[in-house]
Amino acid sequence: MSAALLPKPQMRGLLARRMKFHLLGAFVVSVGCAALYKFGVAEPRKRAYADFYRNYDPMKDFEAMKAAGVLESAPAK
């Protein structure tokens, strides 16, 4: 009798294949974490500072602080 022959499984290089796969996976995870931090924390922070100073009026802020009485050099009247 002749049974259908199964295809010969891969016998060698199994560790190398696993290592290649997971090293790639590790780099993807690591770059992904870095990208998450960069676009989730670092870039929003830079944008927040840019937005704050874009239309910032220091004199108006100073007058508000003076009125609130928090400045030693400019006490509230």
């Binding site: 560790l15 997971h22 996976g25 590790a26 780099f27 995870v29 690591s30 770059v31 974490c33 870095a34 931090y37 960069k38 924390v41 670092a42 922070r45 830079k46 500072y49 100073y53 910032y56 220091p58 004199m59 802020d61 100073f62 602080m65 928090v70 400045l71 030693e72 050099s73 400019a74």
Partner: protein, 227 residues
């Protein structure tokens, strides 16, 4: 000033501090990438059936030498950029001296009007409502905003350190030595700091308060102080 459970930096009040915050984000991102890589590989190693007769690892050894070298260069270049930026010759508009004593600061403004004053911490018993405990002082360091200010720091007795985190300044006060630092306050406001070198029993009780105001207000204040 920092809130009670704050772990991150205080809001930047000078361009250098903004740069430092950006660099910190960059360095932390690199550290996060490396830690997640190591954690992934560690989990892999711990869940694997042990085998392997690897005897030739030339390629991977090349990779794990070159890659860390590149990472170090990625860290070094922005770091050196900011270091040189901090040391630029910047022709300050105002120079003042900060002298550390046990346990208070003395400030000397000798550029235009010549005056000196001591700055003691406000005791908690005398603290007005709404003021910050262990951070307020009787006489603040008033500086003009958006102007480069040079501070020459020294000490009279033991080591101290003049630090204001939101301005990105920390300079050791060493007896017999003059250390120089400079900053530019980007906006008006009140910025707090504390002595940053152990100097005795009341090391935690000699804070620094810098108040930045428009130039006209600074001039009024310095005229009042000198008269």
């Amino acid at each position: 000033m920092a809130n009670h459970s704050q772990l991150n930096f205080q809001d930047a009040a000078s361009p250098i501090m903004e740069e430092l915050m950006g660099f910190h984000d960059h360095a932390l991102m690199v550290a996060l990438a490396i830690c997640s890589l190591v954690l992934y590989l560690l989990t892999l190693m711990l869940t694997e059936k042990l085998s392997s007769s690897t005897i030739n690892a030339q390629e991977i050894e090349l990779v794990w030498t070159i890659l860390p070298a590149m990472v170090l260069v990625m860290l070094a270049l922005p770091s050196l950029r900011i270091l040189y930026m901090m040391d630029e010759i910047n022709e300050p508009d105002l120079t003042l001296k900060a002298i550390g004593h046990q346990w208070y600061w003395t400030y000397e403004y000798t550029d235009f009007k010549d005056f000196t004053f001591d700055s003691y911490m406000t005791p908690t018993a005398d603290l007005p409502l709404g003021h910050f405990r262990l951070l307020e002082v009787d006489h603040r360091v008033i500086v003009p905003m958006s102007s480069t200010v040079r501070v020459i720091v020294t000490a009279d007795d033991v080591l101290h350190s003049w630090a204001v985190p939101s301005l990105g300044v920390k300079t050791d006060a060493i007896p017999g030595r003059l250390n120089q630092t400079s900053f530019l306050a980007s906006r008006p406001g009140v910025f707090y700091g504390q002595c940053s070198e152990i100097c005795g029993a009341n090391h935690s009780f000699m804070p620094i308060v810098v108040e930045s105001t428009p130039l006209a207000n600074f001039e009024n204040w310095s005229s009042l102080m000198s008269s």
